[in-house]
Amino acid sequence: MLNFLLRRLGISVILLFFISVVSFLIITLTPGSPYPWGEMNPKVSPQMKENFRAKFHLDEPWYKQYYLNMKGLFTGTLTSIKDDRPVLQKIGERLPATLLLNILAITIALSFGLMLGVYAARHAGKLPDLLTCIVAFVFIALPEFWIAGLIVIGLVKFTDAPILGTQSYGVDFPNLFAMGLDRYWHLALPATVLALGGIAAQALYIRASMVETMRQDYVRTARAKGLPQDVVFYKHALRNSIRPLITGIGGLLPALIGGSIIIETIFAYPGIGRMGYEAVLERDYPTLVAMNFIVASLVLLGNLISDILYAVVDPRVRLE
């Protein structure tokens, strides 16, 4: 186990290095350059521009910039071009919101995906199965921003419910419970939209996996034992079917973080997706560098966790 972790850690470090170099190259070798003074400010003197470029090492060769940026990242001295605050601190402020959103999205995706997938598999080949599969493809085919937009229009036009951000404003909450519900409401809408694709993917995955599992010999054994359908299904088949699902969780994360750029923009949700998007627009290189690095680390961590979970679910797998 320890061996496994160490080896995985080693591979992760190499991967991270690779990722950080590539993303750094993409970021710095492209046209445009950071400019923190707003639109064509007549008041900015050439000297200020020079000071600024020197401060953020913008005139160094890329490898030196890379080195300085990474050094800054690890010593915590890397600061954002926009407001000169340490990027780690900025990311730290936004990361919890994004994680919360993604965790809820993953929960929704998994629970609904599981339910739908199992439902379809139970009726494999029959009408409910077909309908479920079509619904799943509908979910995948729905453009995220479009459905988010429609939901938003609907809510704005027909209800009083606020939809943006993480909480309602200008309102005194009578109690903690109401406050909790308010937070949940603001979290659940974007999370649901974000999860739609995940629900569908998981449902199709589970369905296929279940159908495959139902053909296995041990399921026949279980049926031959006279076990009730449900026990056969939920105990013998399901447990074996969700193994691939668990490995999939690690892979969900990058997709969700990508998707959250749009969702966070539409719902004005304060997460790192939006920060990254703004950093791209502002050419805030340090922030981009740090963000890519941290997101990649998170993804690698997610992969590691799914590997460990995999071993927990399947006794045949040992982490070596």
Binding site: I11, I14, L15, F18, I19, S23, I26, I27, T30, P31, G32, L130, C133, I134, F137, V138, I140, A141, L142, P143, E144, F145, W146, I147, G149, L150, V152, I153, V156, K157, R215, R220, G251, P254, A255, I257, G258, G259, I261, I262, T265, G273, G276, Y277, V280, L281, L288, N292, V295, A296, V299, L300, N303
Partner: protein, 302 residues
């Protein structure tokens, strides 16, 4: 399904028919798949007609790029089936016109990704060993990137031209194909007929192109079909953020971008293009899935 899979009668029936025809026949039996396929054909014809139309033909109800401010932001009517946009352009005509670029983005991006994926996957799977190991680690690394963010960064920084968008989408989405092709190659490499061919002294290219690739074709095609809507959706998402194909060239995505501002006042600018993207994507997914089922039945019997 518990059956005796080696039923002799079945085997005989199997022998009469070429695999491709079998897949096709099974596909035709899938009603959902056929309907989806018809939609795809319709989209294609539209794209073709408007593609030709942009060379001077007259296949639109209105010129998709002509502005007429007197009729801006009009709701759908008999004259303008999908309403008009903020510059008074006919949205329906723009949708027709957009199908050309949107489908091009979908197809070409997927072709790029397919080409890369097949080549890389084939090399990895065919040679195995350390080559495979290195390539797969690289693939792992690429999978760690939040893809959409990567695309966004690249397109934002390189400039949102059609070519850039296509290339970038293609470049980041080949990993899935590569993994699939690699897996197929790893399996087929050890298949008896390949071993046989190898032992008869067949050279690597012959092995790959005559023996392995044709047999891996079915899953590759299915992946391609299922990837197309992904590329179209990605372009639309980029458009939504302002980094898609730039106006005045219409795409399904940037019609929505144009309409985004009017979200609450001109629903038709959002609903119709969104629905078009949705129907197109759904058609590709369903047709792709039907194709997969048809192809799988064959490989199951193999």
């Amino acid at each position: 399904m518990i059956t005796d899979t080696d039923n002799p009668v079945l085997q005989e029936a199997q022998l009469i028919e070429s695999p491709a025809r079998g897949v096709w026949r099974r596909f035709l039996r899938n009603k959902v798949g056929v309907v989806a396929g018809i939609f795809i054909v319709l989209f294609f014809l539209t794209a073709l007609a408007t593609g030709l139309g942009s060379l001077g033909g007259i296949y639109y109800p209105y010129n998709p790029n002509t502005t007429s401010l007197e009729i801006k932001l009009q709701p759908p009517s008999l004259a303008h089936w999908a309403g008009t946009d903020n510059l008074g352009r006919d949205v329906f005509s723009r949708l027709l016109n957009g199908s050309y670029i949107s489908l091009t983005v979908g197809f070409v991006a997927v072709s790029v990704s397919l080409l890369l994926g097949v080549v890389v996957g084939a090399i990895s799977g065919f040679f195995g060993g350390w080559v495979d190991n290195i390539i797969m680690r690289v693939v792992d690394a690429i999978l760690c990137f939040p893809t959409f963010f990567l695309i966004l960064t690249a397109v934002a920084l390189l400039g949102p031209s059609i070519i850039n968008i296509i290339v970038v989408i293609g470049l980041v989405s080949w990993t899935g194909t590569a993994r699939l092709v690699r897996a197929e190659f790893l399996t087929l490499r050890e298949a008896e007929y390949v071993r046989a061919a190898r032992s008869l002294g067949a050279k690597a290219p012959a092995l790959v192109f005559r023996h392995i690739l044709p047999n891996a074709l079915a899953p590759i095609i299915v992946t391609a079909v299922i990837s197309i809507p992904g590329a179209i959706l990605t372009e639309a998402s980029l458009s939504f953020l302002g980094f898609g194909v730039q106006p005045p060239q219409a795409t399904w995505g940037n019609i929505i971008t144009d309409g985004k501002t009017y979200l609450l006042d001109a629903w038709w600018l959002i609903v119709f293009p969104g629905a078009t993207i949705f129907v197109a994507a759904l058609s590709f997914y369903l047709a792709g899935d039907a194709l997969r089922q048809a192809a799988e039945t064959r490989s199951e019997r193999k």
